[in-house]
């Protein structure tokens, strides 16, 4: 009796302890994550909600809670500058993502040909990503300034009629943003693609070669389809950069000439913080969010679903 009970006691105790530690083990990750989850819930989603609430009010210098329905959105729709900014985002974002992907892919394929000094070249291409957009903006502002940069240099070589004055041309200024942003980000996309290329199983390529496929055909039909997940991540990252572009515009064009190269982010900042129109600024922020969701959710959905099925 005493034996069995003394034998049973420690067993019962250890099971209790084990289940206790098991419980702790199950809960520990959640517990540790809880503060940061709560913080991001509050500071990201909470403030998103607050911005939405503010966009329905007549807030001007300080937030007020006098609701005016969708009047701020109506004002935004009637605002010429908002349309310039939105069109610019479509042009800038579209070109930026497309050119970065194309350039990054070409660079990656070329670098993947087992060339000498690949490491050094890779670093050179990747390096711009280490700079802040402010630095990139200032450098390109000088390079593109017709009186200082490329135009002046080519003219000093004797080509007196050479013109490259996009920076001061209201119709072309937005393309200077594309140039600078592509310069900054395409090396990074190249690195992503390079990693993807290295991950492709050699035997697939060998099989394709044995089947008699030409090199372009192998790349087009085999390699690039294999890179689809990489394209997915690249598009995600690049569209992020495009939509939140603010520092680049501030440093490179200042939104000018006039407001010809304004983007929604700079529009939002100007109205919410310097022009005492928090309501209108919030409305523009909500539309930006809406735009992002409208593009990203279908893309995310189709990509993730096809991957699960495939």
């Amino acid at each position: 009796m005493s034996l069995s009970s003394s034998a049973a006691r420690p067993t019962a105790g250890s099971t209790a302890r084990r289940s206790h530690s098991g419980l702790l083990q199950a809960w520990l990750p959640k517990l540790v994550l809880a503060p940061s989850a709560a913080i991001s819930l509050f500071f990201v989603y909470g403030f998103m909600l607050w911005t939405f609430v503010l966009s329905l009010t007549n807030s001007r210098m300080l937030p007020s809670y006098e609701f005016v329905g969708f009047a701020q959105y109506a004002r935004l729709m009637a605002n010429d500058r908002w349309w310039v900014a939105s069109t610019n985002l479509v042009v800038f974002g579209g070109l930026f993502v497309a050119i970065c992907l194309a350039l990054g892919l070409v660079l990656a394929i070329l670098l993947d040909q087992r060339i000498r000094q690949e490491g050094a070249l890779r670093t050179i291409y990747l390096y711009p990503m280490a700079l802040s957009f402010i630095v990139t903006g200032v450098v390109w502002k000088w390079l593109l300034n017709p009186g200082l940069g490329i135009q002046a240099m080519v003219r000093s070589w004797g080509f007196e009629n050479f013109r490259f004055d996009w920076l001061v041309d209201p119709d072309m200024a937005v393309y200077t943003l594309v140039i600078a942003a592509v310069w900054q980000a395409s090396g990074f996309v190249m690195a992503l693609f390079l990693a993807g290329l290295r991950g492709i199983d050699d035997s697939i390529l060998k099989a394709a070669q044995l089947d008699g496929a030409s090199l372009p055909r192998i790349y087009w039909r085999v390699v690039i389809p294999c890179l689809r997940p990489v394209v997915f991540s690249a598009v995600m990252i690049l569209s992020h950069i495009a939509i939140k572009s603010f520092d680049l515009v501030v440093a490179l064009t200042g939104g000018g000439p006039g407001y010809a190269s304004d983007l929604p982010a700079t529009f939002m900042y100007a109205h919410a913080f310097t022009r005492a129109q928090i309501g209108l600024g919030s409305a523009s922020a909500m539309l930006m969010l809406g735009g992002v969701l409208a593009i990203l959710i279908p893309y995310l959905y189709s990509e993730l679903r096809s991957r699960r099925h495939g």
């Binding site: 001007r60 210098m61 300080l62 937030p63 004002r75 009637a78 010429d80 500058r81 502002k141 300034n145 017709p146 009186g147 200082l148 004055d165 920076l167 001061v168 209201p170 200024a173 064009t253 200042g254 000018g256 000439p257 006039g258 407001y259 010809a260 100007a270 109205h271 913080f273 310097t274 022009r275 005492a276 129109q277």
Partner: protein, 422 residues
């Protein structure tokens, strides 16, 4: 969060003060906390004068300087402080913004000081109006900047064989001559506020003070859409011919340095440009010239920095009233404005310490205050609320930079901008 923070802060402060007094038995009666963005070298020294004056009277000064030229950062900080119910004693707020803060009921009145010091007699009525909310003084002017100035490099003018232009026509003629002599006639930076600065001087010259008042201060739609406005817009656009092609996005002080170096002849800019000339070691009237913007000799567009006083209680209020008094006293006015390049806000000061441009500015300030040519600057946030100002900026800068927008269209948009904001 605010509920928690406030008492905590106060307790900490009280403890700190208690510790300080028990140790030194100093008579730190009360403290003012002043939010400002006078952070560049000369400005910071000037602000320090005020601190020393306060300390000489036995008040404490808690500096709350927030860097960032235009004060955007400082305003953001101020808003969050005000929202959490813990505003500083005084903040650098100017123009119609004073009214906005007043409407929120956050400002405290200074009528006792104003009466004791005779501000009503001291300040020109146009200036006093800016400082009052609902008839009570809530802010105190620190300095007066004049915006409608023309700066020039005498060597360039001489090389081109022209004099300082006094009318818009003369400006265009002189500009042509300067270009033929191989210089850029007018240095300019293509930023919205700089475009607006030039625009308001042109409007003032071609339309006169009364029209300026109607259009850019009262936002009268009839004036904004009138023939005169269209004419002013067209003249403004013609000025582009006198500027170089690379001006887009250029900062104002780079444009000023073009005049200093002699690659450009003239610049239309407020008197803060003088700081650049002074820093380059040039003497006013000899190595650089200043004159009222062409055609605006009888007008003075003012840009006044002021300290608005927040509603505070007890000892802090006493210190705040002392601060308001000291700001307008000659000692500070002179020291501050010598450093800042502006002129004192009280017209009765001895100007012998100041340079020629400042002396002329003061003469014109007094003269226009009497004759009625003293108008608030729209481009520098003295005339209309920030949202209206922004909307006008958009129209002006878009018109100035667009190849094909007609002046009529710009005038129409100006009317819309003003109406949308009302």
């Amino acid at each position: 969060m605010t509920l928690l923070e406030n008492p905590l802060r106060k307790t900490a402060l009280a403890l700190a003060t208690a510790a300080a007094t028990s140790l030194t038995f100093s008579v730190q009666a009360a403290e003012v906390e002043v939010l400002h963005w006078w952070t560049s070298g000369g400005e910071a020294r000037a602000a320090n004068v005020l601190k020393e004056l306060m300390e000489a009277e036995g008040y404490g000064w808690e500096d709350f300087a927030v860097a960032g030229g235009g004060g955007e950062t400082a305003m953001t900080v101020l808003k969050s402080r005000a929202m959490s119910g813990n505003p500083p004693s005084a903040a650098q707020i100017k123009g119609p913004e004073i009214q906005e803060w007043g409407e929120l009921g956050l400002l405290g009145e200074l009528d006792e000081v104003a009466e004791a010091e005779g501000w009503d007699e001291l300040l020109p009525p146009t200036v006093a109006d800016v400082m009052r909310h609902n008839g009570s003084y809530v802010a105190v002017p620190v300095n007066v900047h004049r915006v409608n100035w023309l700066w020039a490099n005498p060597q360039v003018l001489e090389a081109a064989g022209v004099e300082m232009p006094t009318t818009l026509d003369e400006l265009f003629e002189a500009g042509e001559a300067i270009r033929e002599a191989g210089f850029i006639p007018l240095a300019h930076g293509g930023q919205a506020w700089q475009d607006a600065t030039v625009f308001e001087s042109v409007l003032l010259a071609s339309g006169g003070t009364e029209f300026y008042q109607q259009a850019l201060v009262e936002l009268d739609p009839e004036a904004l859409g009138s023939e005169r406005m269209i004419e002013a817009l067209e003249t403004f656009k013609r000025l582009r011919e006198l500027m170089d092609a690379d001006m887009s996005g250029r900062d104002w002080n780079i444009a000023t340095s073009m005049v200093i170096e002699g690659s450009a002849g003239m610049q239309l800019m407020g008197d803060w440009a003088k700081g650049e000339f002074t820093a380059a070691g040039l003497t006013a009237g000899e190595e650089y010239l200043c004159a009222a913007a062409p055609g605006t000799q009888d007008a003075f567009t003012f840009n006044i920095d002021s300290l608005a006083m927040f509603r505070v209680e007890g000892a802090e209020r006493e210190a705040q009233q002392a601060l308001a008094r000291l700001v307008l006293e000659p000692t500070f006015q002179e020291a501050f404005n010598l450093a800042k390049g502006s002129i004192p806000a009280r017209p009765d000061l001895d100007m012998s310490e100041f340079d020629q441009c400042a002396q002329q500015s003061m003469d014109d300030f007094q003269r226009t205050a009497e004759e009625g040519g003293l108008v608030p600057s729209m481009a520098h946030g003295m005339a209309v609320r920030a949202d209206v100002q922004g909307a006008i900026f958009d129209v002006v800068t878009n018109y100035f930079n667009s190849r094909d927008m007609a002046a009529e269209e710009a005038a129409r948009r100006m009317v819309n901008a003003a109406q949308a904001a009302l």
